[in-house]
């Protein structure tokens, strides 16, 4: 027989033990994130408060001047606008396709493993290779798309030479590139739904779309939030497809924030303004993530 005091102590010891195990297991990951990412983010945020430009001597403290200059810059406003269009397009198309693929992959019985592996391939290709492939698809009279148009009696279209069409192509390439991962997230969610829920609903006379609306979507709400977050993050930070595909052009039609940040930091060598763009991107990403978590909060 244990006394209540001993029992409380045992429970407390167990709780401490569990907490300690968690900290020990999480420790390396936390140290890595703080050491690699945290340092860069803090350093970047501090740099954004100074003037660090290669053509001037010294690094004076300027407070929020870099941010003020940024929001007065037509180039930055253009990049922000283009980014929002690009991200919105990617999210809408990306979530629809991801959900569709996830549902099909979940339903398919024969060759399930093979199809899942195939669905992941775009995510495994490097961004630059994907960009080159998309360039071949859309550039020149001998590109696959233009050859199709010509075969159909239409004229070839200079896809990447027209600002709005170039943005569409870049968005499609981005969706192709990043959707497989969100498909995987949603598939994980679908596999976690108890099949008895569907059976019970069917017995009650529910139709397929009703099952989808009232069982599937609420059940995978946390995974939906994750998918939205991934599509937003990956799109706002997308750079490795756009630069080789369009270089940010024509004009500055595809110069999204990440590309603009690269231009500022590594071509203009204007480190402080580039850091300010990094902070703006970070704030946008955090805001979007919070919004998704709130939107898809389990009720």
């Amino acid at each position: 027989m244990t006394t209540p005091l001993e029992h409380r102590r045992a429970v407390r010891r167990k709780r401490w033990g569990t907490a300690l195990t968690l900290f020990v297991l999480l420790g390396p990951a936390v140290v890595m994130v703080i050491g690699v990412l945290g340092y860069a983010v803090v350093s970047g945020a501090i740099t954004s408060l100074f003037r660090v430009e290669v053509w001037t001597l010294g690094t004076p403290f300027v407070g929020f001047e870099n941010y003020q200059r940024l929001f007065r810059s037509a180039t930055f406003v253009n990049s922000l606008t283009r980014s929002l269009i690009f991200v919105a397009g990617t999210i809408v198309l990306g979530i629809v396709l991801s959900m569709g693929f996830a549902l099909v992959l979940h339903a398919v019985r024969w060759g399930r493993g093979l199809f899942r592996a195939i669905a992941l391939i775009p995510y495994l290709v490097s961004g630059v290779a994907a960009a080159v492939m998309w360039r071949f698809l859309f550039t020149g009279d001998t590109s696959l798309i233009n050859m199709g148009l010509i075969a159909a009696g239409q004229q070839a279209i200079p896809w990447l030479a027209r600002p709005n069409l170039a943005l569409v192509v870049v968005t499609l390439a981005n969706v192709w590139f990043i959707s497989p991962f969100s498909t995987l997230i949603l598939l994980g969610g679908l596999q976690g739904i108890d099949p008895q829920l569907y059976e019970a609903a069917k017995i009650d006379g529910a139709r397929t779309h009703q099952c989808f609306k009232h069982i599937t979507l609420p059940s995978i709400a946390p995974m939906m939030a994750l998918s939205f977050m991934w599509l937003s993050f990956a799109s706002f930070n997308m750079f490795d497809i756009i630069l080789p595909l369009t270089g940010g052009g024509p004009g500055r039609a595809t110069e999204v924030l990440a590309v603009h940040m690269y231009q500022l930091a590594f071509r203009d060598l204007n480190y402080s303004t580039a850091s300010a763009v990094m902070v703006v991107l970070l704030v946008i990403n955090v805001a979007f993530s919070l919004a998704y978590l709130r939107l898809f909060r389990p009720r």
Binding site: T139, W159, A161, T246, P250, D268, N270
Partner: protein
Amino acid sequence: MVRCDRAGRRVAATGVRATLWALAIGLLFGSVHAQQSVEITMWFGRQNFIPADAFETFHRENPGIRVKTDVIPLEQAVADVLRTARAGQAPDIVQVPADGVPPLALQGALYDFGPLLAKWQAEEPASYANLAQAAFDFATYQGTAHGVALHYGPYWFTYRIDWFEEAGIPHPPATWDDVLAAGRALRKADRIGFSVIGSRAHDPVWFLATYMAMGGQWVDGVPQLDSDAGRYLLGFYQALVRDDIAHPETLAWTSGEMRAAFIGGGAAQAMIGDNIYPTLNQSLAYGTQWAGSPPPPRPGGEADNRVMALGWPYLVTAGTQHPEAVLKVLQYLARPEIVAEVALRYQPTTVLPVMTDPGYVEAKPWAPDFAAPFAELVPLPSHPRQPQIYQILLDAMQDALQNPNADAAAMAARYQAQLDELR
């Protein structure tokens, strides 16, 4: 048994003593060697700039100096030098595009190489005299020399001589108006009149080479778009699109597409770098199918016509501890037999005797035709904010290509205002 133990102990003691002696001798010789051996770190901007002998002869002739090479792409060399200099780890010599000299000089990252150049001139006058003026100009900022450029490259106006002759068009075109007229006359369903880069994939150096040939001027390193030459340049780009002389996808074209169009027989004219001529000559025959010339002037701008060159100078960094050894390395790289090997397979050299060397002329049969303009190449003027100038020029170029019927004068004035803000 006791005897065995003693013998064993004696062997062990002898072994320890021998090891200690070996360590001492090793340390002594190692430190003497370290004192005698100087290591020069050199960053090349492209693998192709490294001589084929990889400093083997140099090391034989200078046993006390080791040259350690690395390849840091030209595009990132400026940023990397600044970063490593802050950590006290900058290389002794770095190769950058010439427009990287002003920011590096402004940040105090470069060594005053003037006195060592004077020493070079005094000690090896023949080697020094071999160098074109551009060799020094490319590595000098505000009167201070920071190194030397052994390679530079111009863009030549290049055209299909067979098509010109077939169509009875005099060649090479005398002005850029003639280039446009030839472009209109020579374009066909399967070929374009003029191949040009329109994308943002590169710095607008082809655009600037055309501008300089048209008589374009710079004030304090800032190009003057709002001038006769600038307005003419924008009008020229507009005409390329408006009159269907260039490809409809020009706005998305990189150097690859621009060159491929000409080399593949799909374009009548283009501005092509000297380093591409060997590749071009593998597809088309020089003199019968293709020819080149210095870019022509704009009508009325003949007096200001110049041929622009890009340079990739070797700069000595402020942190170098061995400037004398650095001088020896650069003198070695400037030797005709060393630099010729690089010039033959890659970029032309500022060591002028190489350009008329029989071996060079045999490998590059067009070289004699360009010998005179080579001696008069003009370095692209640069500014500490050159990357931003490039961005504005790309905006202007793409604006002209996207709006072929807009007022070129208004366009030039608008972008000039942006350029002037950088001065």
